[in-house]
């Protein structure tokens, strides 16, 4: 467990040097600082990703919080799979990565993706070219395929089940060039 923490800490330090060099040594980051990144502004999920950094009701994030959120995107190392299971799960485990994505859908944080929440994300991604009915039918079909307990919403467990064949590790990890 100590070794895995050290590896995580080192990875964070790589980011640490870059961040401090490039950002005028702010200790607190606000929403507006993220919104100034042009490529984030045109990303359909830009606002949601920014929200993921801030805790409930908070308007600023410190460096530790920033790193905790970014740590979800650390690649899963092979030698960590054999670490002891008693310690807290590392932030970049498959389950935590999926949880991060789940929170992008689940706005009201009730641990369920409702039809409305799914519609909102769909609308953000596909833009204005598709009619509401078409969008609604896509959302219904998606929920139908995923829903197992019949509550017309997708819970986290159902989310994980639908995505069990997807290579989450590759899609939700960022590697450094050295």
């Amino acid at each position: 467990m100590m070794a895995s923490r050290t590896v995580q800490h080192n990875w964070n330090l790589d980011l640490c040097t870059y961040f401090l060099n490039s950002s005028l040594q702010l200790l607190w980051t606000h929403r507006e600082d993220f919104q100034r990144i042009p490529e984030l502004a045109i990303n359909p999920l830009g606002d949601r990703i920014i929200n993921a950094f801030f805790s409930e009701g908070e308007d600023q994030v410190n460096f530790r919080g920033f790193m905790r959120t970014l740590a979800h995107f650390r690649p899963i190392e092979d030698n960590e799979k054999s670490k002891d299971q008693n310690g807290p799960e590392p932030l970049n485990s498959r389950s935590n990565k999926l949880h991060f994505a789940f929170r992008l859908y689940d706005l009201d944080k009730d641990d369920k993706i409702s039809r409305d929440e799914l519609l909102q994300v769909l609308r953000m991604m596909v833009g204005v070219n598709i009619s509401d009915e078409q969008l609604g039918s896509i959302a219904d079909r998606t929920i139908q395929e995923a829903d197992q307990d019949g509550d017309c919403a997708i819970s986290f467990a159902e989310f994980v089940k639908v995505l069990e064949k997807v290579d989450v590790e590759q899609k939700m990890s960022i590697r450094f060039l050295h």
């Binding site: 005028l24 990303n43 994505a101 833009g127 070219n129 995923a146």
Partner: protein, 446 residues
């Protein structure tokens, strides 16, 4: 002891003669042309010679590196993280196209589609295109300045000798010469403008003031060995207008002001800058703000508007980026100067980094270190394009106007236009704005 005496006076005589000769040469070849605005073309010949030497040096390094299998240059260009080759805009278009065209097929959507956007978003937070613009550019060829090639290993004797010779020339010959010129230029400016300030207001004063300013800026240009090429000089800014340009270094002011007579805008400084500012304002109405006034945007806008509306006053020179950029791209312009409602004369400045990198990384170097670096480079080579004037159209607001001017400058200077539009939730990713139509449909109050 007797033998020493005549020898001593001989040395002293020689020294005296050589200094006199040096200063005469200085006067004839540098200052006199500066006064009259003509040029002997010495700097261009100097530039061509240097280019030939650099080519040889670069080829020699490449050959040497291949022989020894050394890595040539610091791999900086691609950033710190591995990015996917697909671009965000293309993916967005891909997703949105699948809905509109084919009416019968329902567009495909998976819950995992958001992974791509999520990851792209986090990638840009870690390493975005914008922050990269604030570090100096890395060069492809070596210009015998060790500051631009961090991996300089010992390759050959000839190259090292050449580099050593270069250091000697730059620090022992060029640097004192340039410092002397700069000193001359600045003191002439201060005394000249103070003297002109005592004259009564009128055509004579204006004429003299203009020529004093131009002369001193030209001397300063030669003090930096700046080789400037001006394009489209018929579009130069006129009275009652605002001249906007992209900003790479404090030298931009000297470069533009040596070709035209502008009213400067800026904050009052202390020290030498303060002395220069106070002297300049005696001869011609520049706009200097106190520190406290700078924060008050309305006051600033009001003073600038007053200045601009007086048609007899000079065009104002403004750098809307607000800070120094490394001359590979143009950042978002601050909209303040575009709200005033005057004609805007855009100017694009592009430096050639081969002879000396003019970018001022203010977080890395202070002003004195920066000037020292400038004066020990080979030369500052740049091109200035004067673009046709633009005015704000009826249906644009200040921000759109600013972006239009910015695109024109970026396109002309061959710089990347870092521009995005917030309209329509990122549906338009603009590369280069609308054509600058010269419809005189402007909406200023008469």
């Amino acid at each position: 002891m007797f033998l020493l005496l005549p020898f001593d006076s001989l040395v002293v005589n020689l020294l005296g003669i050589s200094i006199t000769v040096l200063f005469t040469l200085l006067l004839v070849f540098i200052i006199v042309p500066a006064i009259f605005g003509v040029s002997f073309g010495i700097r261009k010949v100097y530039m061509k010679t240097l280019l030939k030497i650099f080519q040889w040096a670069t080829l020699r390094i490449e050959r040497g590196a291949k022989e020894k299998n050394h890595p040539l240059y610091k791999p900086y260009v691609n950033g710190i993280i591995a990015k996917e080759p697909t671009s965000l805009e293309e993916e967005i278009k891909e997703i949105r196209r699948s809905g509109s065209g084919k009416a019968l097929d329902a567009p495909e959507f998976e819950l995992s589609d958001i992974f791509y956007f999520c990851r792209k978003g986090i990638e840009t937070i870690m390493d975005d295109e914008v922050t990269k613009r604030f570090s100096a550019e890395e060069l492809e060829s070596w210009n015998l300045l060790s500051r631009t090639n961090y991996n300089f290993h010992y390759i050959s004797l000839r190259l090292t000798v050449l580099w050593g010779l270069g250091v000697l020339i730059r620090y022992c010959f060029l640097l004192p010469l340039r410092i002397a010129l700069a000193f001359t230029g600045i003191s002439l400016l201060v005394t000249g403008t103070t003297v002109v300030g005592y004259l009564p207001n009128g055509r004579c004063k204006e004429f003299l003031s203009k020529h004093v300013h131009l002369m001193c800026y030209r001397i300063c240009v030669r003090a930096l060995t700046a080789i400037i090429t001006y394009h489209d000089r018929e579009n130069r800014p006129r009275n009652g207008g605002i001249c906007v340009a992209n900003h790479t270094s404090p030298i931009d002011v000297i470069i533009l002001a040596s070709d035209g007579y502008y009213a400067m805008v800026g904050q009052v400084h202390g020290g030498l800058m303060g002395v220069i500012q106070r002297a300049m304002v005696k001869a011609c109405p520049h706009v200097w703000f106190e520190r406290s006034e700078v924060k008050d945007r309305h006051l600033v806008a009001k003073r600038l508007t007053e200045h601009v509306q007086d048609k007899s006053k000079l065009p104002i020179l403004i750098f809307p980026e607000g800070t120094c950029i490394n001359n590979t791209s143009v950042m978002m312009f601050k909209k303040g100067s575009f709200e005033i409602g005057a004609t805007v004369y855009p100017v694009a400045i592009k430096y050639d980094p081969q002879f000396g990198d003019a970018f001022w990384n203010s977080s890395k170097y202070g002003m004195v270190t920066y000037l020292l670096r400038m004066m020990t480079s080979w030369a500052i080579v740049c091109s200035v394009w004067y673009l046709p004037p633009m005015t704000r159209q009826c249906d644009e607001d200040a921000v759109q106007f600013a972006n239009r001017v910015k695109s024109a400058i970026a396109r002309q200077g061959g710089l990347v236009d870092l521009l995005w539009s917030k309209e329509g939730e990122g549906e338009r990713y603009i590369q280069g704005g609308a054509t600058e139509t010269l419809q005189q449909n402007d909406c200023r109050q008469p």
